[in-house]
Amino acid sequence: MIDDIPALLDDARRRIEAAADLEELRSVGADVVGKRSALSSAKAGLGSLDPDARREAGRALNEVRQAIEGAIGERQAALEAAARATRLEAERLDLTEVVATRRRGHLHLVTQARDRLEDVFIGMGFTVADGPEAETDWYNFGALNFPPGHPARNMYDTLYLEVGEPETVVLRTHTSPTQIRVMEAGEPPIYSVMPGRCYRQDTADASHLPNFHQIEGLVVDRGITFGDLAGTLDSFTSAYFGPGITTRLRPSYFPFTEPSAEFDITCVFCGGDGCRSCGRTGWLELGGCGMVHPNVFASVGYDPEVWSGFAFGFGIDRMTAQRSGIADLRDLVTNDIRFLEQF
């Protein structure tokens, strides 16, 4: 029997507290509550006692055992926590001293604008059409109601290719030839936008690039009016540029549309109050538009008495550069990574 239970408990607690690590704790545990411990021996010796004394002594031993096991458990938790803390501290990493090895690239600013423009028109029920950049004179001019020798051809500084007879194949000067291809490829109704690269014999300067990007829109359906054109441009501009941005149409001239118009949008910088960007007019020039000319319908075999439609187009690069505060369009094509990474 154990003479002095409190002393045994104190001793066990002391040893448990003194255990420096989990291994030592296990060995202490074996000593104090294991099979060969004094406690186990005492329990084995209970059988020699009379029933009352046995019950009494048994309860006392159980209480001691529970107390000791509780102490072991607490000590174990503390040691485990300390071990984890040590291990984690050893793993400490300064994430700012780590060099990132994977980087995300950037889409070109003009691509981002083009995608957004497409998405706005898709939301309005338009499809997107692509077309060739090298075109015949017919698609670039003839079918668009620019007969050979037409003075309006001089509005475009056309680049010709040495293919076939002289001046029969051009680098498209606008995205409008895609209108013809879209109409030839199918029947109305047509609601389509046609983005892409165009070419003119322009010296590259702050506001011109010899290759540049346009987006063109074409709607052909029954009963399409000039009012529809203006309304469609309004919904596009408010969706793309923001609420309150509306359009102003001014009479203009393009051989492939009539009536034709230039369209301006509310200045996105001053909201129409007038500022430096808009030359204090409150408007920014954006593009051209108009009702599809009957001769254009005739080129593709559409009956202008049945179908009517409108077309519009504008440059993507200049608009985008202006919105992003890029004063010189040539910055768009240097491919300087410090430029590309800003967008």
Binding site: Y191, P210, G227
Partner: protein
């Protein structure tokens, strides 16, 4: 076209604020590019005569100038301009005056010298002219005279308009005034010049039109009593405001008439005109003439000449007069020409001769043939002379101004308006389109002689819309029964962009135009590239046959700016000369990736990501070579057995020529072909619920046998093979020279059972046999 408001007021009583004038012009399609207010802010500006000019100690940019400004004492000013001398007359803005742009002049001190006013440059006074010196005034003006009085300047507004090519009528003061009057509901009239009919008894000019198909009308007037000298101030001022330099009274009157009526005209010195008559004929091929600008020009039979009565050329019709009969100080008698020439012929001649003039710009768009006689008489009126003889008026073939049937319903259908017949009539009549309602909703519209652009119904509808006002047309939105969206190709193209950006490459935009050298420098062949006939830069005359030159140049650009390791990609059209007989060059959309500081393995990874992202099927790589790429580090990319492009590294020689000191991983594909191959997810293949087993196999194989081929053999070696991963390549003592060890982990799995050891052993044997027999390989122990 620059137009002073005062000049417009000669034809219509315009009285509206400038901003409303500008808005009205814009709304009429006469786009206002700028507005200059002249003659404002000139109070306090006086004529001054320079008395002394002295240096200021310690100043090398400014000088002290003493001027006589009409007062008792000389005025001292400090001036930074050097273009005048003692005795010159100059404008002085006195203290207290407020120049255009609210520029107040006060007394100042510069370098300790007091300045009591400012000597002015033209732009500081709101006058045309550059800011490159003080305006030096004509001699004879009295110092102290108000500048505006001395110069005959009255306050005016000059609008600069951009005229559309379909509006030759608006290349004249009267055309612009007519539009404004119509929109504003004002009267408009072109006054009849107060000139007699030329009954002076002299003989009329003989005019012969030998090319009536080119010259529809030709008026010749002999005008005597001319004394060449300066124009009256008001004419000189108007021309100046309109942007033309006054020359002498004859030339100025000619220009004035052109600007006012839109009628180019030409005055020949009659004394220099043998035969005192003119012949209009086509040039002979190779015939030459020295034009007014003293340039000899060689012509073809497509060019039209004005000749003297002896058939010697005295001018290129509609473009430029000849030097031989130019007006001189001695001229006393002129023959004035006003004519109508076939517009398209003038346009072609002007283009071929690369000679564009104020006259050709008008003739090529079509001048008003009905107003030519008014123009001639207006010329006389301006000069204060009379025709010396009856005016000769010869006709060739003139287009007949059409009458156009216009349907009211069509007008409203096109515009989305609800105009009545009367509304249409009310809009058209004031701009000279004569209207007759022949039945309800049916109008016959006579096109005026000055609107050759109007020929058919839609042209008239445009005029209705223009005069009604585009802003007045109600705006609506059409309802489409269609659903919009991208095509599969367009969706996948966006996906490719995102995949490549996700890999860390940024999107470049390189030019389509390349020089032969830049193509050759990339190891490519320039001779099959498409040639631009008229390139802007002579040596950038080829269309890119590949994205390689553009992207390599971009890497070099970045490298030269201490930005190594740049990764770029581009998607764009590339071109090749057409097959014989094909109308257009071959063009296709290519995608390319260039990664500086990376070797070919990165290109391989990029391709893997693309193939995975697009879920391409039947993809193979095989060793190959391609121009511009590293000869021993390039693979051909095959999808479904079709060559789609190449990956690897850029040829070190190409990099050296571009000054690039890093390796550059490269991937280029024909995007259209690639996205044309089967790709995308198919039906779901259920995942086996049974455990898989891995076996490792190492083979000794000839270096010539690609690892990818061995992997394919393993993959196809048994139905139970679900994955093959290369995990080790070893070259060295343990294997024979010219061979290497390649080790794979092969994963086996059945859909319907757990594999037994016997199953695995049998497959293993089959795979070993297959690789050994197909590739001359030996299993390593």
């Amino acid at each position: 076209m620059r137009v002073p408001l005062s000049w417009l007021c000669d034809f219509a009583p315009l009285d509206l604020p400038v901003d409303e004038l500008v808005a009205t012009l814009n709304d009429l399609g006469l786009a206002v590019e700028s507005v200059d207010r002249v003659g404002e802010g000139l109070d306090g500006v006086v004529v001054a005569q320079v008395l002394e000019i002295d240096a200021i100690p310690g100043a090398d940019k400014i000088r002290r100038v003493m001027v006589d400004a009409g007062g008792d004492e000389a005025v001292q000013v400090v001036c930074g301009a050097w273009n005048f001398a003692v005795g010159d007359l100059v404008p002085l803005a006195t203290v207290g005056s407020v120049l255009p742009g609210d520029f107040a002049i006060g007394a100042r001190k510069m370098k300790g010298v007091a300045s009591h006013g400012m000597l002015c440059a033209p732009d500081e006074l709101g006058l045309p002219g550059a800011h490159d010196g003080i305006l030096v005034l004509p001699e004879g003006l009295a110092p102290g005279t108000p500048f505006a009085t001395a110069m005959g300047i009255t306050a005016d507004v000059v609008v600069e308009l951009e005229i559309n090519p379909n509006r030759p009528d608006a290349m004249s003061v009267v055309g612009i005034a007519r539009d404004l009057a119509a929109r504003l509901g004002l009267d408009f009239a072109i006054p009849e010049p107060a000139v007699g009919d030329g009954g002076g008894g002299a003989s009329s000019a003989a005019v012969t039109i030998e090319a009536p198909e080119r010259c529809g009308r030709f008026i010749g007037a002999t005008i005597g009593g001319i004394s060449v000298g300066p124009s009256p101030a008001w004419i000189a001022n108007r021309l100046t405001l309109a942007g033309m330099r006054p020359i002498n009274n004859v030339v100025d009157a000619s220009n004035y008439v052109m600007l006012e009526l839109g009628t180019p005209n030409h005055a020949y010195d009659l004394a220099q005109l043998p035969g005192r008559g003119l012949v209009v004929r086509r040039a002979e091929d190779g015939e030459a003439i020295v034009t007014l600008d003293d340039v000899e020009r060689t012509l073809t039979s497509e060019d039209l000449l004005i000749c003297d009565a002896e058939r010697q050329p005295v001018g290129i019709a509609g473009i430029m007069g000849g030097a031989s009969s130019e007006i001189s100080d001695a001229t006393t008698e002129v023959l004035l020409e006003a004519a109508w020439f076939l517009p398209i012929a003038i346009s072609r001649s002007s283009r071929r001769l690369k000679l564009r003039t104020e006259a050709s710009a008008r003739f090529e768009k079509g001048v008003d043939p009905a107003i030519l006689d008014v123009a001639v008489r207006r010329f006389c009126e301006l000069l204060g002379v009379e025709p010396a003889a009856p005016i000769t008026d010869e006709r060739g073939e003139l287009p007949i101004a059409p009458t156009v049937r216009v349907r009211r319903a069509r007008v409203n259908d096109v515009l989305g308006t609800e105009l009545a017949d009367d509304d249409i009539v009310g809009l058209l009549d004031p701009i000279g389109f004569t209207t007759a309602v022949v039945a309800p909703g049916q109008l016959d519209v006579g096109i005026p002689s000055w609107r050759p652009d109007s020929e058919i119904e839609i042209d008239v509808i445009e005029e209705v819309a223009r005069l009604y006002g585009y802003s007045a047309i109600p705006r609506t939105i059409p309802t489409s029964s269609l659903t919009g969206g991208l095509t599969p190709y367009q969706r996948d193209r966006r996906l490719v962009r995102q995949l490549l950006a996700g890999l860390g490459s940024s999107e470049a935009w390189s030019t389509t135009f390349l020089s032969s050298e830049s193509i050759a420098r990339c190891g490519l062949e320039p001779s099959s590239a498409v040639v631009v006939t008229n390139p802007l830069v002579a040596d950038e005359s080829l269309l890119r046959p590949s994205l390689l030159p553009g992207l390599v140049a971009a890497l070099a650009y970045n490298g030269a700016r201490r930005q190594p390791g740049v990764h770029l990609f581009e998607i764009g059209k590339v071109f090749r000369a057409p097959a014989p007989g094909a109308p257009l060059p071959v063009e296709w959309e290519a995608v390319a990736v260039a990664m500086a500081g990376c070797d070919a393995t990165e290109a391989r990874s990029a391709w893997e990501v693309l193939a995975e992202g697009l879920l391409l099927d039947d993809v193979h790589l095989e060793a190959g070579e391609a121009p511009g790429l590293h000869p021993t580090r390039t693979a051909r990319i095959l999808v479904g057995g079709v060559l789609m492009g190449h990956l690897g590294e850029v040829d070190p020689d190409v990099l050296r020529l571009h000054g690039i000191e890093e390796r550059v991983a490269w991937l280029e594909l024909d995007l259209e072909a690639l996205l044309g191959a089967p790709h995308g997810a198919g039906l779901y293949r259920p995942i086996s619920k049974f455990p898989s087993s891995d076996i490792d196999l190492a083979f000794e194989v000839d270096d010539a046998v690609p690892a990818g081929t061995v992997a394919s053999t393993l993959r196809q070696g048994d139905d139970l093979v679900v994955d093959v991963v290369l995990f080790d390549v070893y070259r060295g003592e343990q294997v024979r020279s010219g061979r290497r060890s390649i080790a794979f982990t092969v994963r086996l799995q059945a859909a319907d059972r757990t594999l037994t050891d016997d199953d695995v052993a049998a497959v293993r044997r089959r795979l070993i046999d297959g690789v050994e027999s197909a590739h001359g390989a030996a299993l390593r122990g």
